[in-house]
């Protein structure tokens, strides 16, 4: 482990985070709000820290190749440090009464969770709110590259499937092609962002709101600029646009790249996408019908509008709300809870366990049953026509177990702080899955402010682990990792 290289790289990352603070600063200056000073201070502090780290730890030998371990350390520490510097505008702006809330809000942004501890959102300075949404967008950018380029290389949690499976921009080396991969995927991300922002403005949002909501949607984050989230706009058009883009963001970005490259058929051929599509549709239909028959929506269309939005919001792990699903029938709530476990597709900005893993686990389970009937049969789990290696299957099984263990432990910790059981487990689930709103006292109409400090730290840890596919963070907590 060469600390110099790790810190040097993180220094560069910090500088990038610092520079992006210029955007909210511009908004603050335009609106002449209270965000100017906090943002300016944060900008200066972050940039200076970044430059300092970058220069102090510069490796004069010019040896830039990264090892596996260094890669993991950069990924895990990078997110934490981004979370720290991202919390500065909230801290300098005196938004919250204690520091843990600042860090919670910032990391919730960078991990694209969207769990908020902010009480009255609309009274805050626009610059600060813009920064809050921008952390989503930056986190989303990081996730795409992380899940499609870095994690496959590091071999984390079954993600190496993508090395073999996804055609096109998938690198087999961390350098130099990882740069090209990142650029290509970011262009796709940027393109979708531009389209959504324009569409939202056409629906009557102003420039500021449309950008913030675009950031929240495509990163599957969920921070809104309004207290009542997207419900504030009361527009079917806006609901459908956001629904569509939430689903887009839950699909593997390398498939989007292929589609833009003129190979849309790959989308239909992708087994994970088909699985995701079918599950999402079926759940939407069931909930639409049950909600229509149980509540007082005027038409099936209206029922579908609210249902599809909530389902897309939860399954993509965004967390926007246009309706309070806690008053929906039990079957609808149960299905939404199920969606929280699922998450979107691998290689997207969404969280959760990912459909890919669930699909492969189901296949594996079916094979075990099959083997009881045909004891001497030889069969393999396949994804499309590719055979999934037993090692990958083991990774996925391990991931599944760790994910559930983390969910239970964190739920227990939060409930130990005095929060009711349903809410604490829902909060744990919503944070590991990077969703945001859960049920109970952390439901779509509430937020996380009331959770005691210890609970918040536990949830912060969950968000980070959930976002970084668990292994990346767990591995740096193991002593073996640090041995020379």
């Amino acid at each position: 482990m060469r600390w110099k290289i790790v810190l040097h790289t993180i220094g560069a990352l910090t500088l990038c985070v610092g520079l992006t603070m210029l955007f909210p600063l511009a908004f603050s200056l335009y609106y002449q709000d209270a965000g100017i000073m906090p943002l300016l201070k944060s900008f200066g502090f972050t940039c200076i820290s970044g430059i300092a780290m970058f220069l102090i730890f510069r490796d004069r030998e010019g040896n830039k190749g990264l090892s596996h371990r260094e890669g993991m350390a950069i990924v895990a520490l990078g997110w934490v440090i981004a979370g720290f510097f991202g919390s500065l505008p909230f801290y300098f702006g005196d938004i919250f009464t204690n520091y843990v809330d600042c860090f919670f809000e910032s990391l919730s942004g960078f991990t694209t969770t969207g769990a908020s501890v902010m009480m009255d959102i609309e009274k805050n300075a626009k610059g600060i709110l813009f920064w809050r949404s921008l952390t989503h967008w930056l986190g989303g950018m990081g996730i795409i590259v992380l899940s499609l380029a870095i994690l496959p290389f590091l071999g984390v949690g079954g993600m190496q499937l993508y090395k073999a499976e996804v055609p096109g921009p998938v690198p087999d080396k961390l350098k130099p092609r990882i740069k090209d991969t990142a650029m290509v995927l970011w262009k796709v991300y940027l393109l979708f962002s531009a389209i959504e922002a324009v569409l939202l403005m056409l629906g009557g949002m102003d420039f500021f709101d449309s950008l913030c909501h675009t950031f929240g949607t495509l990163a599957t984050g969920g921070f809104s600029t309004k207290n009542s989230s997207v419900a504030y706009f009361q527009s079917a058009y806006i609901d459908y646009v956001i629904t569509f883009f939430m689903l887009v963001a839950a699909v593997n970005f390398s498939l989007h790249y292929q589609m833009i490259k003129g190979r849309p058929l790959l989308l239909w051929k992708d087994p994970e996408f088909r699985f995701f599509g079918v599950i999402t549709l079926v759940i939407m239909v069931i909930i639409t019908v049950s909600v229509y028959s149980a509540t007082n929506y005027e038409s099936i269309e209206e029922s579908f509008r609210y249902t599809s939005f909530q389902v897309a919001s939860i399954i993509s792990t965004t967390g926007y709300a246009t309706a309070d699903y806690e008053i929906w029938p039990a079957v609808a709530q149960g299905l939404l809870l199920f969606c929280m476990f699922l998450g979107g597709c691998a290689g997207s900005t969404s969280g959760g366990m990912k459909h890919l893993r669930i699909m492969l686990l189901l296949k594996q389970a079916y094979q075990e049953v099959f083997r009881i009937i045909h004891p001497r049969s030889v069969n393999r789990v396949k994804l499309g026509k590719t055979v999934v290696k037993p090692k990958t299957m083991n990774d996925i099984l391990g991931f599944f177990v760790l994910w559930l263990a983390l969910f239970v432990i964190c739920g227990l910790v939060v409930s130990a702080t005095g929060v009711d059981v349903v809410s604490s487990f829902a909060a744990s689930l919503a944070c590991i899955g990077n969703i945001g709103p859960g049920i109970g006292s952390v439901g779509p109409t509430e937020n996380y402010a009331h959770i005691p400090e210890l609970g918040k730290w536990a949830l912060i840890f969950c968000m980070l682990l959930g976002r970084l596919e668990i292994y990346t963070v767990i591995v740096i907590c193991v002593p073996e990792f640090w041995r020379k």
Binding site: H374, S377, V378, R380
Partner: protein
């Protein structure tokens, strides 16, 4: 006409035997003096000992004067190099190569141009798979052959006990089955004897009847003759080698419920990766426990295609004993062929026999539509064009003076394929498909007042 055959194995030997019998100058090249002496002892052909992939030997064999070059050794690479050299020495020679490895056959286009220019690639494995699939398409059949690009079929079926055709005179078969079905009974096998029947012969209980019919009328015909049985659905393939995996891939769809047994664990792993619906089992085809576990008694067909023929025979017998409906076994040695049906195995396939048939078919291009051999090699189907001056033109078939043991199965007039009745009149330039026993071929030539040309 000079033919050079590289390889004096079973394929080379049999092709040489058939071609030398048809007055061709045959030269056989092989490394193995024993194999060569077997050839030179029994056949009137020239033999040269040496490597078929040596230009010197090829020159010695007279490649430059030869018309046809057959590379039929067991080694794909030797066959490829030999054809390459033959092409260099005489570029317009007709070349056939026997190639079995999938690595090569996948790129057959590559071999038919450039430095090789192979005219036909003979892949015995693929042909064996085709013939298994044909057998499966008519479960009750003994033998099935396709003619005229698959439009006409020759189906040999053992007549079941209650068939309405029992005791019917051949001239009345059409009355019995209905006039709308075109059918000619091409041959009968009774007490192990092949009969090419005339209109006065009668079908008897226990005969194997060879029907010639249009492919699209096949099912209706078999239904009316009381022969059609349930389609094959549940299949077990024993052996996952070349033939086994090709077959499994052909049966890897919703229409079949296929299982495949192979004794090699690595091979099984590989097969399970490439196959989708087929259940791959690791074990021995003669392991009774495994066969019971997989409920073999309930299967429609067990196909044993390992490289070990004794093993194939055994696993088929075992499966039959456990209650499997039909069995097919793969045989390599010709000596076993007469044994198979008497011991209760329903069908046999033989890659080498398939290879010989396709080589002969190609060599006689156009003149013998298919070197179909019924009952081993006793009968053959040939094609001839009706000449204007010939005796057969202008009168109904029943009045023709064809030798006994010769039948016109069908003919092509323009683009139409017609299965004749006794009243059909042959016109000049009709292309006839004739079935005949071997010894009758000279007589047919006379009757047609034209020499039957093989080339």
């Amino acid at each position: 006409m000079r033919v050079i055959i590289v390889g004096a194995g079973e394929v080379g030997f049999n092709v040489a035997r058939r071609l030398s019998g048809e007055n061709k100058d045959v030269v056989v090249i092989d490394m193995d003096p024993k194999a060569l002496s077997k050839v030179s002892d029994s056949l009137d052909v020239q033999t040269i000992q040496g490597s078929g992939s040596s230009p010197e030997i090829l020159e010695e064999a007279g490649v430059r004067e030869a018309d046809i070059f057959l590379a039929v050794t067991d080694k794909d690479e030797i066959n490829l190099i030999a054809t390459f050299l033959a092409n260099k020495l005489k570029s317009d020679i007709i070349k056939l190569a026997r190639i079995r490895k999938e690595d090569y056959t996948k790129f057959s286009d590559m071999f038919s141009e450039g430095d090789l220019k192979i005219d036909t690639i003979i892949n015995p494995d693929e042909e064996v798979v085709d013939s298994i699939l044909r057998i499966m398409s008519v479960p009750g059949s003994v033998e099935i052959n396709d003619f005229v690009g698959g439009k006409v079929r020759l189906i040999g079926v053992k007549l079941p006990a209650e068939s309405p055709l029992e005791g019917v005179q051949l001239m009345k078969v059409r009355e019995q089955l209905g006039e709308d079905i075109d059918v000619v009974i091409a041959a009968l096998v009774r007490d192990d004897q092949l009969i090419i029947p005339g209109g006065l012969d009668t079908i008897e209980r226990g005969d194997i009847v060879y029907f010639t019919c249009m492919r699209d009328q096949q099912n209706e015909l078999l239904k009316r003759a009381g022969i059609l049985s349930d389609p094959i659905k549940k299949v077990l393939i024993v052996g996952g080698g070349n033939v086994g995996s090709l077959l499994a891939r052909a049966l890897d769809n919703k229409k079949f419920h296929t299982r495949l047994i192979d004794s090699d664990a690595d091979r099984c792993a590989h097969l399970s990766e490439t196959l989708d619906r087929v259940i791959v089992l690791n074990g021995d085809g003669t392991d009774q426990d495994l066969l019971n576990e997989e409920n073999v008694g309930d299967l429609d067909m067990v196909i044993s295609v390992t490289g070990d023929e004794e093993m194939n025979i055994l696993s088929c017998l075992l499966a039959k004993n456990l209650g499997a409906r039909k069995t097919i076994t793969r045989i390599n040695k010709f000596a076993y062929i007469p044994l198979i049906q008497p011991i209760g195995i329903d069908h046999l396939v033989c890659p080498r026999l398939s290879a010989i048939n396709s080589i002969l078919h190609f060599v006689r291009q156009g003149k013998v539509i298919s070197a179909v051999s019924i009952k081993g090699e006793e009968a053959e189907a040939l094609e001839a064009i009706a000449q204007e001056k010939s005796d057969i033109v202008g009168k109904p078939i029943m009045e023709m003076n064809l030798p006994k043991g010769t039948l016109i199965l069908c003919f092509q007039r323009g683009d139409d394929v017609i299965i004749p009745t006794g009243l059909t009149v042959i016109e000049p330039n009709d292309r006839l498909l004739i079935i005949s026993t071997h010894k009758n071929i000279p007589k047919i030539e006379k009757a047609l007042t034209t020499k039957l040309e093989f080339y």
